[in-house]
Symmetry: C2
Subunit: 276 residues, 2 copies
């Protein structure tokens, strides 16, 4: 049986970069878990002594270096960190830094700010905190803007993981109703690249193994796409693999969620090879 | 029979303003006919001695004042006019001045310029001439942009008489493909207000009289909307009215194309009253 990895899978650029930063920052702590994968969190703790704290108040004098994770953090929290007399290592994804900078600059220029995203998501909490005024509207649909009267000049950014077609619904509404709309396309394609790659590979494969957390929404999304096209399994570790699955199969496709480290993917591939 | 005028009809704000400017500028010439209505052109010539020339070279030393019409003119022609030692009276519609200013300012700031409109229309020839660089793309559909690679920062304006839904097709394409798209909604609603008003009135009326040039596209549009809902006639002057039309009618609706002066509408209403 042939095994083929999807053209794009697993860590996005920002997460890969953050993990490298953590590996190069022994004895630091991260503010919140670095990624949504307990095995990878454990590996960073065991191999590099990089653990995590849940909030700034847990940082005591024994901690010298603090890593800000890919989502970024609100401006006032960053300030509070800097006052803690620790070295701040910023692993905010550059694609998240960008909307933070845009919101800061555009609000300074007097634009009202519309953010397409979830106001409870850490990324958006960070991005919105960079506005220098309070005319900031965080919405998921144009309906949420209908009872509001914004000023004539509006700048807009999107949460990096959102779908473009949903963002266009917001921008269309704004263009229809306001004189100037400055649209920054801050959507990152990594999530969709993984999905496209699964779609392509699962159409050719006889079986697909998707590696990732069973409660990770992006992993489930990959699994749902795969099983439309061939027999598919979502697993968290190699222990779940069953040799029966691979009988009479010619091509096994592999993909992994955005928080799944490469070493775990490799471990699973080795195990499949042993079995078949 | 009751006679009712549509809530909005005839001259738009810019044309009304231009005619007033002409009436206050006796002995001036306009560069090109001021509006597409021969009766109104004749009235301005007879009552105010405001005639027109077809191009700048026709302006001789006897002409002291030149009126620029609502569409505006290219920057170099305006310059040439100023060098002629004549007083330039600018009747460019303020809603057309706006995209001219935007294109000038945005091109100075280094933005590539996308103009949604017809490159052969006088308004667009004027607007595009205000760019200070040559990275200006005049298009009617997104397809015309597909073989072009623009820079990352794009500013876009629309011809004032275009439909918003068509403009959004362009802006959606740009947002999908470029990092920053600065959208200026320069569409003027006057044309659509006349259409909406005809739609509303023709649903209640027994007969609609539309006044305007038989080759005027906006007038024909009004006529087409009206005749969907009731018996309708498109006429250029009161001579075409036929008393038979009004027999057994209770409500007669009146509308007029964007180049039809109010005095002509009133003349037609008087004639209908005489007939019925």
């Amino acid at each position: 049986m042939k095994i083929e990895k999807a053209k794009s899978y697993g860590f996005c650029f920002g997460v890969r970069r953050a993990v490298e930063i953590a590996e190069n920052s022994q004895n630091a702590v991260t503010l919140g878990p670095l990624i949504h994968n307990p095995l990878e969190i454990q590996r960073l703790a065991e191999n590099y002594n990089v653990k995590y704290v849940n909030n700034i108040d847990e940082i005591d004098e024994n901690i010298k270096r603090v890593i800000v994770r890919t989502h970024g953090i609100p401006k006032d929290k960053l300030q509070k960190l800097k006052e803690k007399n620790v070295e701040v290592i910023d692993a905010t994804c550059p694609f998240v830094k960008k909307p933070q900078e845009i919101v800061e600059e555009m609000s300074k220029q007097g634009y009202d700010i519309v953010i397409f995203g979830d106001k409870n998501h850490p990324e958006i909490k960070g991005v919105m905190s960079y506005a220098v005024h309070d005319r900031v509207y965080v919405v998921l649909t144009p309906d949420e803007l209908k009872d509001k009267r914004l000023r004539e000049k509006i700048a807009t950014v999107a949460q990096t993981t959102r779908k473009l077609s949903d963002y266009l619904k917001i921008t269309n509404y704004l263009i229809e109703n306001y004189k100037e709309v400055r649209v920054f396309n801050t959507i990152c394609n990594a999530t969709f690249e993984n999905q496209d790659a699964v779609r392509e590979l699962s159409k050719r494969a006889d079986i697909m193994i998707i590696v990732g957390g069973k409660n990770s929404s992006n992993t489930k999304q990959l699994y749902n796409i795969a099983k439309e096209n061939c027999e598919s399994y979502l697993i968290e570790s190699e222990d779940e693999l069953n040799p029966e699955w691979f009988k009479n199969k010619k091509l096994c496709g592999i993909s992994a969620g955005a928080s799944t480290p490469e070493w775990l993917v490799e471990k699973i591939i080795s195990k499949i090879k042993e079995m078949t």
